[in-house]
Amino acid sequence: MIKKYISDEYKIKKEGNVLSYAVPVADIVQVCNDLYFKHKLQLKLITALDDRENTGQFKIFYVFGISPENIFLLPYISLKDEEEFPSITKLIHEASSYERKIYTFFGLRPKDHPHMTQILLHENWPDKVFPLRKDFKYQTRPDYVDGVYESQKVEGEGVYEIPVGPVHAGIIEPGHFRFSVAGEKILLLKPRLGYKHKGIEKLFEVLPISDKVRLSERVSGDTSFTHSMAFCQSIEMLADIDVTERVKYLRVIFSELERLANHLNDIGFIMLDTGYSFGGSNCARLREVIMQWNERLTNSRFLRGVNMIGGIQKDIPIKLCHELLLTLKKIKHDFNEIIAVSQSSSSVINRLSGTGNVAKQVAVDHGLIGISGRSIGIKHDARIEYPYAAYNKLNFDMALEEKGDVLARWSVRIKEVSTSISILEQAILEMPSDNNILHNKNNFALRSNSYSIGIAEGWRGDIVYFVATDSKGEIARVDVRDPSFINWTILEHSVNEDIIPDFPLINKSFNLSYSGNDL
């Protein structure tokens, strides 16, 4: 099977779910091109590794996923004594942000990149200081630089600029949006992020292993569980740990509870942003039911401190299982009723329909994933494509919509609430009663000089963790790819036909993570 994708001339190293092979720098564009266009593989990540201590080289990895075999191809290039590498952005547009991130944090310049500026780090960060290089110590406090932020300008009669944020009126994360408008119509939107950059990827290299799991829970607060699950899976892959069946089911249950809570929240907030308070407050009530169940099951409303490498720390007793099933039944009933009332309100549907349209081709080129992708017919769902935990034993369909407007993103969430409840019901009933939820080997060792990919479908979209170890089996690099990192790039393309008063609604329909993007 693999022969199909990789030419014979490359030497393949297979470890866990990863097939890595070195590719000469000159060939990488062609290799990526073939995998992406000819074999239609998904580009999951491009990341770099400072391996100068061992081999004197920087390495750049291109992660392609093969579904449903759940295998990842990692062609990589090595850069010795040079700081430039060929950019693949001109052909594969979604590579753009990854390459800019590599430039910003490693100082490796993608040659012929059409839009080469740094991202995430602001103008007050000094040039030539690259925080993810190994010779940058994580406590370093770089000098303050007086840079000026230049955003793209639109000129013309009656055109003016509105700066919004980074501090907003609601309790939300910081991000700056600069609109150029003519009257109410949006001509151009330039989001500026990075206000929540806190050096998470660097911290992953520094903290002791037990704290790394806790750190992954804090990448994006509303996705604590799925983030830590993706991270744990990647480490378990490196340590050859097989978790027990019960753990797999428990992970499904917690991860779906997280999805359920967040989807209910978003469905409600989208309605609230149109001013439809009936739907807003009722969905908020249902979400709170889930949050309280989370607390009851795990002592944490956001399911923190639950995952651990090789197992899970909180079990669900039989008695609670039955009670949870009853609650789910009640939620399903109430939710269907609320949605039926809301969907029959023409004023709500009128606000949602046709607002925040994304063109299909633009979405495909930007590699849109998760609920935003599924709302325009891009069929990606890691639960189905890269079945992890116990998802391959459960029965469910991918929620899809075609239109790509706010209504479609709202409807995908509504469908996913139903699938989540169904998955939860199946998982609770089918969960094996084996009591072992912890891995029996307390001391585990990671393979040295190895790589692994952890993937899990968070409620926004797939979360990818790339972990690399050094020659001593220590973690040398963790790359966190939150779905928001990809999906933020589409926001400015979704407001082109819209007016300013509809922007909050459009933004809410994506509800992307600032923290997960800024890292």
């Binding site: 600029e161 919004v164 009126a169 308070s277 009722n282």
Partner: protein, 308 residues
């Protein structure tokens, strides 16, 4: 006695307007499965704001500082010149339709001016939207009350109230039509659904709230109070011009008390109507608002042609 009545007429609107806002909020909360704050909360909010310090942008001119007092005084004057519970005040020169409607417009004008004055992007937004909506609202408002003027053969609001209450039942069809038109303009003028969301925190979607975003402390309190007054003024106009029964025609005490009671009932019904409306529909897209306002205008025209 008439001095007492005058006093009541003068303070009734500013006294009761925060309560109206409180009642609407309370009913809305009930619709959302919430307990909601006490109906007296708007009074506490005003009291709190009056105690607070103010922050005024250094770019703001005298208009910004002066506008809240002006807008508030206008609503008090308006409150004193409309029929509330008694028709005995009719020789009041300010009670002419044109005076009342254009005093309202004057308040809106100064509010829009103040919104732009501080130089923030949102204030300008709010003002631009408010003027767009206000210009389209004026026609519907003017003509819906003009219908009554034609029916009552007078442009004095007190005389209108008196004459409409003596009309025969069958001549009420055009007046109901005009009431529909009036309700639409009322929702627009008082920044309620589906025109504006008084409860939103989304600065990009606001109309009225965007204009007053820069205000704080006492001036904010005055503006909020003025907005509440305006709300009650419109409710009173709706209740007492279109359904003027029960207003006292003399200055006798029992009549007055009955009239006050009936006024309270009518206002309460309208508050419930606004709260139910706000709980059951979503805010309209901004560019759909003109359609609604044109509907109001056309309703008024039809009712006028029915009367003439």
């Amino acid at each position: 006695m008439s001095v007492l009545l005058w006093l009541i007429q003068l303070i009734l609107i500013p006294l009761l307007s925060p309560l109206c806002i409180g009642i609407v909020r309370k009913i809305k909360a009930k619709f959302q499965n919430r307990t909601g704050a006490s109906v007296l909360q708007p009074y506490r909010d005003l009291w709190k704001l009056f105690q607070k310090d103010e922050v005024i942008s250094k770019d703001a001119s005298w208009i910004f500082k002066f506008a809240p007092y002006f807008i508030y005084s206008i609503t008090v004057i308006l409150g004193a010149s409309i029929p509330i519970f008694s028709t005995i005040f009719y020789p009041n020169l300010l009670s002419d339709i044109l005076v009342v409607i254009y005093l309202i417009a004057l308040g809106t004008f100064f509010l829009a001016l103040a919104g732009m004055d501080s130089g923030s992007a949102f204030g300008g937004f709010g003002s631009s939207r408010e003027m767009t909506v206000a210009a389209l609202t004026e026609g519907g408002l003017m003509f819906s009350i003009l219908t009554l003027a034609f029916a009552a053969h007078s442009t004095n609001l007190f005389v209108i109230a008196k004459n409409i209450s003596s009309l025969s039942f069958f001549s009420f069809a055009p007046i109901i039509l005009a009431f529909g038109a009036f309700i639409i303009t009322m929702l627009s003028e008082t920044s309620r659904f589906p025109f504006d969301n008084p409860a939103t925190h989304l600065e990009l979607t606001m109309i009225h709230e965007a204009m007053i975003l820069e205000y704080s402390g006492k001036r904010l309190a005055l503006i909020e109070w003025a907005a509440a007054n305006k709300f009650l003024i419109f409710l009173s106009l709706g209740a007492n011009l279109f359904f003027p029964w029960g207003m006292s025609l003399t200055n006798c005490l029992s009549d007055t008390l009955l009239a006050l009671f009936l006024f309270a009932v009518k206002i309460l019904i309208l508050c419930v109507f606004v709260a139910v409306l706000e709980s059951s529909i979503a805010k309209f897209r901004f560019f759909r608002l003109p359609d609604l306002l044109f509907t109001s205008f056309i309703l008024s025209i039809i009712s006028i042609s029915l009367i003439i």
